[in-house]
Symmetry: C2
Subunit: 298 residues, 2 copies
């Protein structure tokens, strides 16, 4: 097991201009794991209620994901309801934490030794608890959101000081640094252990920012975006999966990870829930990757 993804495992109700789904599998750890499993052996860690079915487990298992880190407790799973009127922004209708309210990640001895760890978008206090359990030399990527920046800034800053890669939306980066120019913002935040920022810009692609590296990737163009839920998680999952597979952080690996992350996110938004992430395999992934390359090189 090379990569451990920790985060939410959820059921989502989602409404977009293309339709709606109820109680479909989602959550940051699920999207990240289905995406990273295309690249590297992946384990998922999170909590679910007893409404999480054998079929849900089967989707993860048939993608080779180690589900032994899913704790099943009595009650209902995390439940998120959201609407996209504009496909670039979700409006949360309701969040029921349910069994997630008491989630306290406890890693097995094996999981503690995992060389790559992804902390999905959850409470920074839980992220910190994972950081305290894993090996010091693990490569750690972390995602977050505006909610935690506003409500738990100090805890989040503490986490950011102890990770290697931060995945963050452009607007959240501005909020976190109180800077309106993202290049200035990136420069301000990159210090200490933090080696790379991956700035997510929705339909405008993403930026990789390192100490001596700046790299831009556009999105792979999709004419019909069905459901953007999980785009950021599948992006981060593929990124972490690719670097775990290559097992280094050099700039060539990081740039290629940006492309694969973009490709997996592009599949994800073409269907509701995890349908496309579950379906898509090689060599289809590599074909789209080659197409994207042709759109950015001379």
């Amino acid at each position: 097991m090379k990569l451990l993804n920790i985060g939410s495992i959820a059921f989502d109700d989602v409404k977009t201009p293309y339709g709606e789904i109820k109680l479909a599998m989602g959550g940051s750890a699920v999207y990240a794991s289905l995406s990273s499993s295309k690249f590297v052996s992946t384990a998922i860690l999170g909590v679910v209620g007893n409404d999480f079915s054998e079929e849900n487990f089967a989707i993860l298992k048939r993608n080779g994901i180690d589900t032994s880190g899913i704790e099943v407790v009595s009650g209902d799973s995390f439940h998120w309801s959201g609407v996209y009127n504009d496909l670039n922004r979700a409006e949360t209708i309701k969040t029921d934490l349910n069994v997630f309210a008491d989630f306290n990640p406890r890693l097995s001895e094996n999981q503690k030794k995992c060389p790559y760890v992804f902390l999905g978008n959850i409470d920074p206090i839980l992220q910190k608890s994972v950081l305290e359990q894993i090996n010091n030399d693990a490569i750690v990527g972390c995602d977050t959101m505006n909610y935690w920046i506003m409500s738990k800034r100090r805890d989040l800053e503490n986490v950011i000081n102890n990770i290697d890669l931060l995945f963050i939306n452009e607007d959240e980066l501005k909020m976190l640094t109180e800077q309106s120019n993202i290049f200035q913002a990136a420069e301000n935040i990159l210090k200490g252990r933090l080696k790379y920022l991956i700035i997510k810009r929705g339909e405008y692609g993403s930026i990789l920012y390192g100490k001596d590296l700046l790299f831009f990737v556009p999105v792979y163009p999709i004419k019909e975006v069905i459901d953007p839920t999980g785009a950021g998680d599948s992006f981060a999952g593929a990124f972490m999966g690719y670097i775990a597979k290559m097992d280094n952080l050099n700039s060539e690996t990081m740039k290629k990870a940006m492309l694969y992350a973009t490709i997996l996110a592009s599949y994800n938004i073409q269907s509701f829930s995890v349908n496309e992430l579950d379906r898509v395999q090689y060599p289809e992934i590599d074909r789209r990757h080659s197409e994207l390359l042709r759109m950015i090189i001379l």
Copy 2:
């Protein structure tokens, strides 16, 4: 003379978070010409009042621009006042057309034979009048804005059917095609003579869209944007200048034109008015071009 730029020649009052200027030289034809003149012999065509000074002419002339197409008439030059509270969007305070109100472009025999023509953002009726005067086999690029889409849609569509390259903002493309997805919008508009769309996305870069070509370029990162006025015009000017220099429309030329256009626009926004466009020369332009290349290739 390889390229003829037609458009406004203006005095601008501009206020940005970095300061303000009064009655500084501007206008679509001026920005485009100072930019294109770095690549190819350029002529400018437009109208000014007798407030347009010898010093204003001198700035154009010292950049090798043929100013014989500037008609000087009695009265004041076009005068625009704008404020940028957000550096991504200008708010127009006042537009005084002045002598521009009676502008009726009349091309000399030499100008009519110019092989490359850029129609800056002016009334599509004036753009059409130029199209009727030039050679049929001239390569024509055209810029426009939301104002003309709303007020003179039919005239504008007529112009678009008779040009080779359209420069258009992302939001204006959506407005023009009544499509919310820009890739769908681009597909809808590309027909007849029109060969390429250049979609401008402000701080998110630009997209080149052709029949078998899709190419993305990010902006060159600028930490201190002083004044965005003329960014689109200097972008289009460099683009037209580069393709006129190479004298072909193949995809390699078009892609390289996107990069040079990005570079000239990046200089332009680092100063008020045309100060940086006037100052910057080779090899400085090529150095920044190489830097940008490193940010997009693997």
